[in-house]
Symmetry: C2
Subunit: 381 residues, 2 copies
Amino acid sequence: MSADPVRTGRSSPGGRIDVSAAAGTYPVLVGRGLLERLSDLLAEHVEVHRLALVTDDRVGRFHGERVADRLRSAGYDVTYLTFPAGEASKTRKSWSILTDEMLDAGLGRDAGVVALGGGVTTDLAGFVAATYLRGVPVVQVPTSHLAMIDASVGGKTGVDVRAGKNLVGAFHAPAAVVVDPDVLATLPIEERASGLAEGVKHGAALDRGHFEAFERSAAALLDAEPDATAAYLLDSIRIKAEVVGADERESGYRQVLNFGHTIGHALEAASGYALRHGSAVALGMLAEAEAGERLGLTERGTRDRLASVVQPLLEAAGVTLLDVDPEAVRRFLGADKKARGGRPRYVLLRRIGEVAAGEAWTHELPDELVDDVVERLAGPG
Amino acid sequence: MSADPVRTGRSSPGGRIDVSAAAGTYPVLVGRGLLERLSDLLAEHVEVHRLALVTDDRVGRFHGERVADRLRSAGYDVTYLTFPAGEASKTRKSWSILTDEMLDAGLGRDAGVVALGGGVTTDLAGFVAATYLRGVPVVQVPTSHLAMIDASVGGKTGVDVRAGKNLVGAFHAPAAVVVDPDVLATLPIEERASGLAEGVKHGAALDRGHFEAFERSAAALLDAEPDATAAYLLDSIRIKAEVVGADERESGYRQVLNFGHTIGHALEAASGYALRHGSAVALGMLAEAEAGERLGLTERGTRDRLASVVQPLLEAAGVTLLDVDPEAVRRFLGADKKARGGRPRYVLLRRIGEVAAGEAWTHELPDELVDDVVERLAGPG
């Protein structure tokens, strides 16, 4: 997983993107090997000397313990906290346990949280930081594609509850985000494929050029080829940062990032979270693109072009046939937090790289149409 | 409890104070009879048509059900939610239940929360609003002195946990605060006395004139005399609003509002919350004033002058002899969220109306001195 200067023969692409938030601007730092330099980056970007390093037990084994040791060597007082890997841990209960562990360790307002992991960790540890003593700084160190391009940028934190995903949480802008593409090589291929499948969203909804770059480099990305990955991440994060900077609280424009998410979240919940988030959103994008085409809002062929990128990734992610109860999907759609007056809302595309926006960034859809496009997901792609 | 124009013979004092917060300015509206006009005030200050009205079962009986009916008559879709009255309800569990009940009722991002009650309700329902779908608006309608002058102004929300009070929460500025002094007449005298005892703090720490007005009108306030109460509340809220406007996140100056709170919170926790919050803070002020005098930071006689106002209120609140384990107090002091590097911090007075500030707004104190002044609380006043 370490850098390979011989193979690339040049320094890797990387850089810094500044994201505007109500509480100030924070940097997203992208570059190979940044994880090894974490103590320097912390010293530069957050004024704390006591840290809770929060990670799941899987990422803990690969990176967490080493990172904790390195931070301690650099003089940080580190409380190392882990929780069982997986979406099932993204609960109020895990949040309570982590908070109590930090209190037991005597961490005060002069402490901070380092969230090291995928989207579950960045959301969960972010919510811990948002609410610990009414808020302490968090540095997000995402280790999955999804968390890198999405979960850790924009300040959304939260947990899942009985009624659905991310229904309880807070906006809590990080002090900094540290993205080291080298860690992606340690992910199982199914994870990587699922994350990349959701990654299609930024290009599909917002930037045709990015979508086309994705089409060209999909194989290298699935292979975790480091330079291709770093370049892709940087561009994808730039797109996200522009949206979040324009509308931190998701009162308007930021909603476009929910393309694929209304149906995606419901699929994920209806599967009992057996379906990975990225795969679920990818399926949601296909269904919502199809709904848009049927309504005449989305350019014809959009769904098929999306499918040609997404299907190979879904296959690599091990998603072959969708076996979820449409009744359950319908129930979870009703509880969606983007609902207004009890009706779920959908982001629809005009074409690849552009959303269809009328009076609002989101649309209502007839129930029968939603049922139809969801059912079609179970059939041949 | 209703207005008595014959007795007062003139319109009551009342008014509006605007509080600056990062998310915008919000109004605190003070006036007799405002509770009956709540639907108009909501229409003016918050853009929601679906509401969760959150209150405890005691305030529910006195006011809640009537308020819910009136709001419904005015066209609001009201989900009426109660929890058992008392500090023991200010937990993550109550927060979870309320959140789930709102989700079950299908409330979306277009909904808001109305918190009707004392400090437990304003803190708990405020935290529900802060975290529901990552934040929906809250209108605070405090029904106790404490909640009126303190808890509902400034955006602090939260719950108590094993390690102490308010250790988990969020800053979430209300959309508006509605203060109707008439509701205070329905409080038990012990509640009112305890609330007033903490109310001494704003004058003691920040405004000598307010402290002296308090000395003059203590009897009328304890009696819930409406005009005296409205005038006092308005002045007290003005003081609080100035502090919060200058430092919303309590990174500096806002800490002065914690006078009496470091020892107060520890006493409250060590008593198993048998001691009311206001009474505990009043005792904390006496102890912290004495500590300041012994260190030569606080003008001599300050503690006794405070005691002459506070003791009659504590007696009316039913606090006769303090029976808490000093060992337990010490343990809770160690877990105080104002601690830095594991050491609790204290706000000390220079004299009535002014805090002693050096390099920081707070000070460390020697453990023996804290033990001493805490133990003296158990003896004759």
